[in-house]
């Protein structure tokens, strides 16, 4: 059953070939045997999953089933789940049983989906390798020595290993697309505001956006239908109609104008990756697309800009963790300041502390103009580059990441080299645009992702463009050895 697409699973449930309880049991057994090694789940909610599956089966018998009813899903441990630990990959929240559900969780529950558990992630979504988790690193199913990418590393690894048919993720600077690329799965970061952030533990609020990780664009489209939509609980949620994202998948892409930014193919890109991306572009030409050379002249400054904006917002957001209302509290505080300082010092990991300090510094008196204001001005220039590009082209393509999955430990002592893993994904978050990563080949037996970037609210177009490629190629169907 675990080899089937979500559409096939949905059809199987509808025809009565298997029940949701059987399907859920099958995935739970795969998690039990295969995840000991991968470490892609922080919490497996087996009992609740089987109860939810039986409810889904009853919904179906009552004639109330939708296309996702009874389909299992893994939730990134950044989404609050009522009654279930929501750790965000941190010691700070190791004891946190959320008193409410995130809107994404509510929406998928309402669609009748069955949550298998909570996936591993870099602490507070800060990282590109999943090594910053309090619960230990996740292994890449394609190579035990390699990282799965991050921060949604557990979600990407679980989908790649087929121990979950679908997973949720969040993407602040590439945290859906980069692990999707490194694990060989399909990941979509929608337009900022498309999916509610309510109950999604905040990292950098002007950049954070949730999205699906799946084995194909079609599967991603099905779950995006349930995730997207206006939410009065999120002040930046966009009140705009949600189309049926599966409706345009089969449209021809004849005449599609694909922009290729010179900056995405310049120095720093691995030769093997460049070859894989060129082969994918040839495939698109065969389908009738036109390649157009474009430039995003300020995109080279997206990493420095991001490492002011994101830490500044994180230093503010993470000030809520004070050892008083929820989360970790140090033992025997001497006074209130000692309570704050030691609870935070002991509860947060090194990378989180670094980013809080960078943000605190950038926002402190005397430095605000040089750092934060400057970064916001550059954000405007980076965003304007995309606006101009989309006057000439329909989508933009390039690599998702500059290299394939690196080895565990290879970059963990060098934050700046880790940050450069996201050089092609970060600009998209600064502009608030939608972006995808789809599997396009391999280098040294490790997966390579093709990034597809669209204009605001063109998720349907992106999914169509990705689906057409997946009809013509088999890269998305590859399964890591041992997980067939």
């Amino acid at each position: 059953m675990h080899n089937k697409s979500v559409a096939e699973l949905s059809a199987g449930l509808q025809k009565g070939e298997f029940s949701s309880e059987e399907l859920t049991q099958a995935y739970l057994e795969r998690i039990e045997t295969l995840d000991k090694n991968l470490n892609s789940f922080i919490t497996v909610t087996a009992e609740q999953a089987l109860t939810a599956a039986r409810n889904a089966d009853q919904m179906r018998q009552a004639g109330k089933a939708g296309s996702l009813t009874g389909i299992p899903v893994a939730q990134k441990d950044i989404f609050c789940t009522e009654g279930v630990r929501t750790s965000c990959g941190s010691k700070m929240l190791d004891n946190f049983i959320s008193p409410y559900n995130a809107t994404v969780v509510e929406r998928l529950n309402a669609a009748g989906m069955v949550m298998l558990g909570k996936t591993n992630m870099d602490e507070f979504a800060m990282g590109s390798s999943n090594e910053n988790s309090y619960y230990g690193p996740v292994r890449n199913p394609w190579d035990q020595k390699a990282v799965p990418g991050g921060s949604s590393g557990g979600s990407a690894a679980a989908v790649a290993a087929q121990i979950a048919p679908l997973a949720t993720g969040t993407d602040t600077g590439g945290s859906i697309r980069q692990p999707a690329s490194l694990c060989g799965v399909t990941g979509l970061k929608p337009t900022y505001g498309r999916i509610s952030r309510y109950g999604m533990i905040a990292f950098a609020s002007s950049l954070d956006q949730a999205g699906p990780l799946a084995r194909s664009a079609e599967d991603a489209a099905m779950v995006l239908n349930a995730m997207a939509g206006f939410d009065p609980h999120d002040s930046t949620s966009v009140d705009r109609e949600v189309p049926d994202y599966t409706a345009n998948l089969t449209e021809s892409i004849e005449g599609l104008r694909i922009g290729l930014p010179a900056e995405f193919f310049a120095e720093g890109l691995d030769d093997g990756i460049a070859n894989v991306i060129q082969a994918a572009l040839k495939e698109y030409e065969k389908m009738g697309a036109k390649l157009v050379d474009i430039s995003l002249p300020n995109s080279g400054l997206s990493v420095p800009t991001y490492y002011v904006v994101a830490p500044a917002e994180c230093s503010s957001n993470l000030s809520r963790f004070d050892g008083v209302r929820f989360g970790y509290r140090c033992d025997d505080p001497l006074d209130l300041e000692d309570l704050y300082k030691r609870s935070r010092g002991e509860g947060f990991g090194a990378e989180v502390k670094r980013r809080i300090m960078i943000g605190t510094y950038a926002l402190s008196a005397g430095y605000y103009d040089a750092y934060y204001l400057k970064a916001q001005q550059l954000r405007r220039l980076i965003s304007d580059d995309f606006r101009q590009a989309f006057e000439q082209v329909d989508v933009i393509m390039g690599p998702t990441a500059p290299s394939v999955a690196f080895d565990i430990g290879e970059k963990s002592d060098d934050p700046v080299s880790m940050y450069l893993s996201d050089i092609y994904t970060i600009a998209v978050n600064l502009a608030g645009l939608p972006g995808m990563s789809i599997p396009a080949g391999f280098v040294d037996n490790r997966p390579v992702g093709l990034q597809v970037i669209g204009n605001y609210f063109t998720e349907s177009r992106l999914l169509n463009v990705a689906h057409q490629y997946q009809l013509a190629t088999n890269w998305h169907r590859q399964v890591p050895p041992g997980y067939e």
């Binding site: 002040s235 930046t236 420095p304 006074d335 935070r344 934050p415």
Partner: protein, 95 residues
């Protein structure tokens, strides 16, 4: 931009983070490297560029000033480290 140990201590204090003395040199090195990366921003002249605070630049949505939530204090305090009679407990702040 290079940070020394005193500056790291000062920033850690502003951020209310206890940092072990033995870890300060490593933080100083890493934070300095990150700031060096950030310094690349100065390569572009941004005089007169309107700062962009938010990707969608929509006006903040307003709603009627009506009660929309019920009181769930006990439920929300279940996950608190220390509460008594509905109050969060902290070390004594007034002598």
């Amino acid at each position: 931009m290079s940070l020394d140990a005193d500056e790291v201590d000062k920033i850690a204090h502003l951020a209310r983070l206890a940092i072990d003395d033995k870890d300060v040199p490593e933080y100083a090195t890493n934070l300095s490297n990150i700031l060096e990366l950030v310094e690349q921003m100065s390569a572009v002249d941004t005089t007169g560029v309107e700062p962009m605070a938010h990707p969608l630049e929509l006006a903040q949505r307003l709603r009627e000033d009506e009660v929309s939530e019920s009181n769930q204090r006990e439920h929300f305090q279940e996950c608190a480290p220390k509460v008594e009679r509905g109050l969060y407990l902290v070390p004594k702040v007034i002598e």
